[in-house]
């Protein structure tokens, strides 16, 4: 079958080849067929070997000494009188949940239902509902025991009711996003007149301060992504997700900015850079929002007010970062609105999505995408600076001080948010 298709394709190719003599055409046809066959042969051989392996086994006749089962908790929700665990079977074979216990001081066996089934196929999911009269503020442990006596536990640090998608909950979450993301960005943008009034040296100081902020944010996002990667169910490979999110976001941003630049036909464009920064900060804020919403959903926002204040202070600098490249260029003021919204609004989407459907997988992916975007922006700002003032400007004492100040600002304000 494969050969006949290949031959037909060969014939088509050869038919187009008007100049070839009849004899050499035959010879070329033979050699092309050989090339295609050499490409197909290893694939076919591999398929054959795989078939044999599946049919006959590895020949090692190794039976696992104990059943290999793994259940991972994706999300545990608390509703009045009910604990609801969303679990995924990340082991190689199907798993049956036979018993459920809920730990408080001690564990107690408890009634449960599992939908769609207590037997979960590989990579399958189930929702385990436990009618347990939990008490707000108490720590609990959810224990699932499989038919093969394996024990899987999930700790609820502080029990709190999971927010449901009600209008008031959504509203307060949106407000949280506004505090954390939107307001600080706009406050930062408000510094534009001040930045404009600065002399050249002062402008570069702030541009480098922005670089410092962004590097800090990027490292912070990567750190959080790595932390959350540990919570991602095994088969979804948290670390690989980070790599994919990071590299794809860098490449995609380059592709987009390359196209835009090509269309405009100009070299350095401050506004474009500002938009790229806004987008990257927006992506970072989306990941941050997911983390905040997730913490809220998991009942871990104990120091809520302090956290919000800290984030607001911490993110104030993001506005400065957004407008830094356009300090010396002229543009319509409405761009400032768009820039601020692009950088800030994703926080709202993040907090709402995080609280309503928190999953470590998404927050890892978005944090990685945000980190990638920040890396791209850092490279772009550096190139922008080199283009305008030469490589030597990177080692300028003022600029180094600006960079250090950026890092210091983030570190100090970060003290408020690190719990």
């Amino acid at each position: 079958m494969a050969e006949s298709v290949a031959e037909r394709q060969m014939e088509d190719l050869v038919a187009h080849d008007q100049t070839a003599a009849a004899t050499s055409s035959v010879a070329r046809r033979g050699s092309r067929a050989a090339i295609i066959a050499s490409a197909l042969l290893p694939v076919m051989l591999l398929a054959g070997i795989l078939y044999l392996l599946v049919q006959r086994g590895t020949g090692l006749a190794l039976a696992p000494p104990a059943p290999i089962e793994r259940i991972e908790f994706e999300r545990v929700e608390l509703y009045p009188g009910e604990i609801r665990a969303h679990v995924i079977n990340s082991g190689p074979e199907s798993v049956t949940i036979a018993q459920v216990q809920v730990g408080w001081l001690n564990r107690a066996s408890w009634e449960f239902t599992a939908t769609p089934s207590a037997t979960i196929p590989r990579l399958g999911r189930a929702v385990v509902r436990i009618p347990y009269p939990w008490v707000a503020g108490e720590p609990y442990e959810v224990v699932l025991l499989t038919a093969n006596t394996l024990v899987f536990t999930h700790e609820i640090a502080i029990a709190a009711e999971t927010p449901v998608a009600g209008g008031s909950t959504l509203g307060s979450l949106a407000l949280l996003g506004v505090y954390v993301g939107v307001i600080p960005v706009f406050l930062g943008i408000g510094w534009l007149p001040f930045l404009r009034a600065l002399p050249q040296r002062g402008y570069y100081f702030f541009l480098n301060l922005t670089l410092g902020l962004l590097v800090f944010l990027g490292v912070d996002a990567l750190h959080e992504a790595l932390e959350n990667a540990a919570l991602v169910p095994g088969p979804y490979q948290g670390i690989a997700l980070i790599l994919i999110g990071l590299s794809l976001s860098i490449l995609l941003l380059y592709a987009i900015s390359g196209r835009v630049k090509g269309r405009e036909g100009s070299g350095g464009n401050g506004l474009l850079l500002a938009y790229t920064i806004a987008l990257s900060i927006g992506l970072h804020n989306l990941g941050e929002g997911l983390a905040i919403g997730g913490a809220y959903a998991l009942g871990e926002v104990a120091t809520g007010t302090l956290l919000v204040l800290g984030f607001t202070l911490h993110n104030l600098t993001e506005g400065v970062a957004v407008v830094a490249p356009v300090v010396r260029s002229r543009f319509r003021w409405v761009h400032l609105l768009w820039l601020g919204l692009l950088a800030g609004l994703p926080t709202i989407a993040g907090t709402m999505a995080g609280a309503l459907a928190y999953s470590a997988l998404w927050s890892v992916l978005f944090l990685a995408v945000g980190a990638g975007a920040i890396i791209q922006v850092v490279i772009e700002i550096t190139r922008h600076q080199i283009r305008e003032s030469g490589t030597a400007s990177l080692a300028n004492a003022f600029n180094v001080a600006g960079f250090a100040a950026g890092l210091a600002v983030m570190y100090v304000t970060g003290l408020f948010v690190t719990v």
Partner: protein
């Protein structure tokens, strides 16, 4: 925009001071009772009856009445097998090490002065033994009399004194051999006999499935919640003698609901030491409990260590009217 946002801050400022869940919400969540409605998972709020174990497999606590031994010799054969699937809780099966494919092993019963002859047939892949509590010669102690795989050994000694004696494998590592299920109860009746009444054998033990040093299930006679699903039927006014043995390495506290019992520690005396409803049995301790129920209905019997109860060490007595009374009612 900033002004509008600042307005939002002021409007929302009060919200952010409050905890994630308000006191009122918490009260609402916990104020009204949410009994489990789906079955006997909690085994406390609902009357029993949902079948969870195969009734064929439920360990029967009923004991055969003491009978004289032929020629004064009591012979038993205990076949030891490893990795026999044993259901420790509904749906949860562990590979257990068993005497006669049962955890706990069968109750061995003899009268004081009988010659007890127990043949251990080792069908496992590891050496094993049986150590009996009680009085016997050193070479019948099961510590040195280790039986290699494929071999057998006959332990022989004179039953003394009367009481409840645990038996268990005593091969190193002993903890592994015991916790995997190699234990049982031996009852030695006094020569003059005890007052005849209905008798039940109840072994208290536990299973640590993930080997983390904490038991995952506690059980009467080897299965968590088994008498919660299959209540033991008693007759009102009927005197009951319960032989209880704690075979796990934690203290256990047999407790009867709606009743008190006469306590005979270790079963080695014919005079009760106490009239009570809770008695702590330490590791390998045992007791005879004698009681009767004066009212019909379901009564829990449990270990009063609440953790043990919540992980399976509870069950129900279903106390019913005597047959004669029921028959009379039916006629009416």
């Amino acid at each position: 925009m900033v002004v509008i946002a600042a307005g939002f801050i002021l409007l929302g400022a009060r919200d952010s001071d409050q905890p994630a869940i308000s006191i009122e919400q918490a009260a609402r969540a916990n104020g009204h009772h949410h009994p489990p409605t789906l079955g006997s998972g909690l085994y406390q709020y609902e009357h029993p009856g949902r079948r969870r174990f195969d009734p064929q497999q439920v360990f029967n606590p009923e004991l055969p009445p003491p009978t004289p031994a032929p020629n004064g010799i009591r012979e038993f054969t205990l076949v030891l097998e490893e990795d026999q699937l044993h259901e420790v809780a509904p749906g949860v099966k562990m590979p257990a090490w068993t005497f006669n494919r049962s955890v706990p092993g069968p109750v061995l019963r003899a009268t004081e002065g009988d010659t007890i002859r127990v043949t251990l047939v080792n069908k496992g892949k590891l050496p094993h033994s049986i150590h009996f509590h009680g009085i016997h010669p050193a070479k019948m102690d099961g510590v040195f009399e280790i039986v290699p795989p494929g071999a057998q050994f006959t332990y022989e000694f004179v039953a003394a004194p009367f009481g409840i004696m645990p038996y268990h494998c005593h091969t190193m590592p002993t903890s592994q051999h015991i916790h995997n299920g190699l234990y049982g109860m031996m009852i030695i009746d006094p020569k003059q006999g005890r007052k005849p009444m209905r008798e039940l054998a109840m072994m208290m033990s536990a299973f640590d499935l993930d080997r983390d040093g904490e038991a995952d299930f506690y059980a009467w006679n080897g299965r968590a919640f088994q008498y919660a699903d299959h209540p033991v039927a008693l007759t009102r006014g009927e005197p009951i003698r319960m032989y209880v043995l704690n075979m796990f390495e934690e203290r256990m506290v047999p407790h009867l609901h709606g009743n008190m019992y006469q306590l005979y520690p270790s079963g080695t005396s014919l005079q009760p030491s106490e009239y009570t409803d809770v008695k702590t049995l330490n590791i390998a301790e045992r007791a005879v409990l004698e009681f009767q129920y004066d009212f019909p209905g379901f009564y829990m019997f449990q270990c009063h260590v609440s953790e043990h109860m919540e992980q399976g060490l509870m069950g129900w007595f279903n106390v019913v009217e005597p047959k004669a009374l029921v028959a009379k009612k039916d006629v009416r």
